[in-house]
């Protein structure tokens, strides 16, 4: 069976894009602020903003896996949602294959963009409609993107994709509650994969799973990436998972990228004090390793009123006066190693 859908493509948007020189996704100074409003009887007025994402710059190259790691509330998921056009950014732009995805476009063009950008969600229990059969759930992307496709072909493709994610034909006639957590995550992956996207954003795809099942899903994702030539943006809070899957890693804190570098480099030559403390905070599953731990004081500050200057300075062991005044830019300290810090460790 063919794996492309060229016969169904109606618009040609991305002809100017060159995979060799340009990144497949580039995000420029993206901000996403959510208004916090105060309600009185008659009026409601905006009193503050939750600065979920506050000026993120990053790029994804074709075929790679970019891991995004950070603690809860740092804006990882919001970044992903804006990147797949589920949310409008407050400021900044997202380029997919050289096209600004938030520019005005026709419905055909919009579908063409969205078909190539898919997302897998964290919770496999709440992201599948419990009233619908698996066949319908996975067929839905075809109904939306290829309404002209014959029913028989859709069905055949559903079965093909189920086999790809390690499920059997008879699973197509079952309902989500009949599956275990790991199998549901396979269904989530199958839905995203069905229409052969270029990029899949995986938002904490394994954090709800047990370790033995987590390993199955991580191996599956690895195989699918090779088979389908996929680009992944992999969001997780578990650094050992991130290290395992990623080619490059971006560390986020309070809506900003703190450090972005190739994976090996990040773990060998950690540059940002936040990344250093994050790495040292992880309990290692080996009682022989005794390490001097940097324990950060306090909690992550509220994104409603983030600290001035570098957002990490109140908890940073290297902070000086400059840090509370001037926000450091994300700079390329070494080739491909970006750090946003006035006093990096390298």
């Amino acid at each position: 069976m063919t794996t492309t859908f060229e016969e169904f493509e109606t618009v040609d948007l991305f002809s100017s894009w060159d995979a060799k020189t340009q990144p497949i996704i580039s995000i420029h100074n993206m901000k996403k602020w959510f208004p916090v409003s105060q309600q009185s009887i008659l009026f409601s007025r905006v009193v503050a903003h939750i600065k979920a994402v506050d000026g993120v710059n990053l790029f994804l190259n074709k075929g790679e896996t970019l891991g995004i790691v950070g603690e809860s509330g740092c804006g990882k998921s919001t970044t992903a949602k804006v990147t797949v056009k589920l949310e409008e950014p407050t400021e900044g732009s997202v380029y997919f294959k050289g096209i600004d995805i938030f520019q005005p476009m026709t419905r055909e063009e919009e579908l063409a963009v969205k078909r190539q950008l898919q997302m897998v969600f964290q919770d496999p229990y709440s992201s599948l409609n419990p009233r619908r059969m698996v066949l319908d759930l996975i067929k839905e992307p075809f109904d939306i993107h290829f309404p002209d496709m014959l029913y028989e072909e859709k069905e055949a493709r559903v079965l093909e994709i189920l086999a790809k994610v390690g499920l059997e034909d008879y699973h197509a006639l079952r309902y989500p509650h009949e599956f275990s957590g790991g199998q549901r995550q396979r269904l989530g992956i199958a839905r995203a994969l069905a229409i052969h996207p270029e990029v899949i954003l995986l938002d904490e795809p394994v954090s709800a799973l047990d370790v033995s099942v987590q390993a199955q899903i991580l191996n599956l994702l690895h195989d699918l990436q090779k088979d389908f030539d996929l680009t992944f943006m992999f969001i997780a809070h578990d650094l050992s998972v991130i290290k395992h899957v990623s080619d490059r890693v971006a560390v986020m804190y309070l809506g900003k990228i703190m450090e972005m570098s190739p994976t090996g480099e990040l773990f060998r030559k950690t540059g940002h004090p936040y990344s250093v403390s994050l790495l040292s905070a992880i309990p290692r599953p080996d009682p022989r390793i005794k390490m001097d731990r940097i324990i950060l004081e306090g909690d992550v500050p509220s994104p409603i009123n983030p600290p001035s200057g570098c957002p990490f300075h109140p908890r940073c062991y290297k902070a000086q006066e400059l840090c509370s005044k001037v926000t450091p830019d994300l700079e390329e300290v070494e080739p491909n190693h970006y750090i946003a810090c006035h006093f990096p460790e390298i």
Binding site: E71, S72, S180, G182, Q183, D210, V211, S212, V213, Q214, A215, Q216, L218, N219, H222, H237, L239, S240, V241, K243, H244, V245, F267, S277, L278, L279, S280, A281, I282, P283, R284, P285, D286, P287, R288, I289, R293, I295, L296, D299, V300
Partner: protein, 343 residues
């Protein structure tokens, strides 16, 4: 070892009676916790970790019952105690911290009310004294300005702070045994490091016996001295943490270590355990791990594996443990020809 165990579970069976059948949640669990010793209880979801804790404190839901076995705490069988005396054990003698710090605190009462109530009751002191004790214990777990913050409500604290409050409340009663059920699972890594540091400090300072329930192998390695690995309602392996982590003897323990991504070593491909954690209604016969075990032979599906004891307090429940030479990072081969099938 000359020390006497503070808590000893002997062949405990706990069943849940549900509409779809009997869930054999604990199927002959035996282990002990020494005085002042941190012990880990490790396993995946549904393996009976939490049920063990609930059976010990006798806080099982109505449809659950410990049908046989002994749970001996300081020489007394908890299962034989009348309810009134059991209430004096809970909190005062054996304290418990739960996974989700938000649901363990009542959102409509101040922290001071929630803490002093328990302290005044169990330590038989006035509310005023209880308040002093509460402030002091909050101070110990690193809550700054405890005198003023104690009048706040739970929602005014972050997740990590709430977990500290629960630790403070548990320890204010001066228990001898602390059961911590996934105490850091809901927390971020940097906060987890803070809370683990506190638990470790307090445990050492107060000489507490501790049962730490977790699925995180890193947390176990960090805190515990001995560890019990659970699978399908049974203890499959137990021993000193260093021994087990360096040289696991049960195929499940081994597979568990090999399936987690590592920060130190580069694994290109993770080892997987096929299938899912078994449901405990109609669990697999014989060894409960046999349908997922690559070393399983005919005997595994037929007979419950006996416990082999060796070394310093090491126990392994596997038919083939003698033939298997498992090392973390090295694939083991079972010489099937050498396996003698017993009858």
């Amino acid at each position: 070892m000359t020390e006497k165990p503070i808590l000893e579970l002997k062949d405990v069976y706990t069943y849940f009676y549900t509409e779809s059948g009997i869930v054999e949640a604990l199927d002959g669990v035996s282990f002990d916790v020494m005085k002042g010793e941190p012990v880990g209880v490790v396993g995946e979801s549904g393996c009976g970790k939490t049920v063990t804790a609930h059976s010990t404190l006798r806080i099982l839901p109505k449809n659950g019952k410990t049908v046989s076995g002994d749970i001996i705490y300081k020489g007394v069988n908890l299962l034989d105690l009348p309810d009134l005396q059991m209430r004096k054990i809970r909190g005062k003698e054996i304290a418990m911290i739960f996974q989700d710090p938000m649901t363990s605190l009542n959102p409509i009462f101040k922290i001071s009310d929630q803490m002093t109530e328990v302290i005044a009751l169990h330590r038989r002191c006035s509310k005023k004294e209880a308040l002093e004790i509460a402030i002091e214990s909050l101070d110990q777990v690193g809550i700054s300005e405890a005198e003023t913050r104690i009048t706040d409500y739970p929602h005014q604290f972050s997740g990590g702070m709430r977990q500290r409050i629960l630790i403070a409340r548990a320890l204010a009663l001066q228990p001898s045994l602390l059961i911590a059920d996934e105490p850091t699972t809901a927390l971020d890594v940097t906060i987890q490091a803070q809370v683990l540091g506190i638990i470790k400090d307090m445990q050492q300072k107060l000489g507490l016996g501790m049962m730490l329930i977790t699925h995180n192998l890193g947390v176990v390695a960090e805190i515990t001295k001995r560890v019990h690995i659970f699978y399908g309602g049974r203890v499959v392996e137990s021993g000193y943490t260093e021994d087990i982590f360096v040289n696991p003897k049960h195929p499940y323990t081994y597979a568990l270590f090999e399936s987690i991504p590592s920060l130190e070593a580069d694994k290109t491909r993770l080892m997987t355990i096929p299938g899912n954690v078994p449901r405990l209604i109609n669990p697999p016969k014989g060894c409960r791990f046999h349908p997922r075990c690559k070393y399983a032979t005919e005997i595994c599906s037929r007979m419950r594996p006996p416990e082999h004891k060796f070394g310093r307090g090491r126990r392994v429940a596997c038919h083939h443990f003698e033939e298997l030479d498992l090392h973390v990072g090295k694939e083991a081969i079972l010489d099937r020809a050498a396996v003698k099938e017993e009858v």
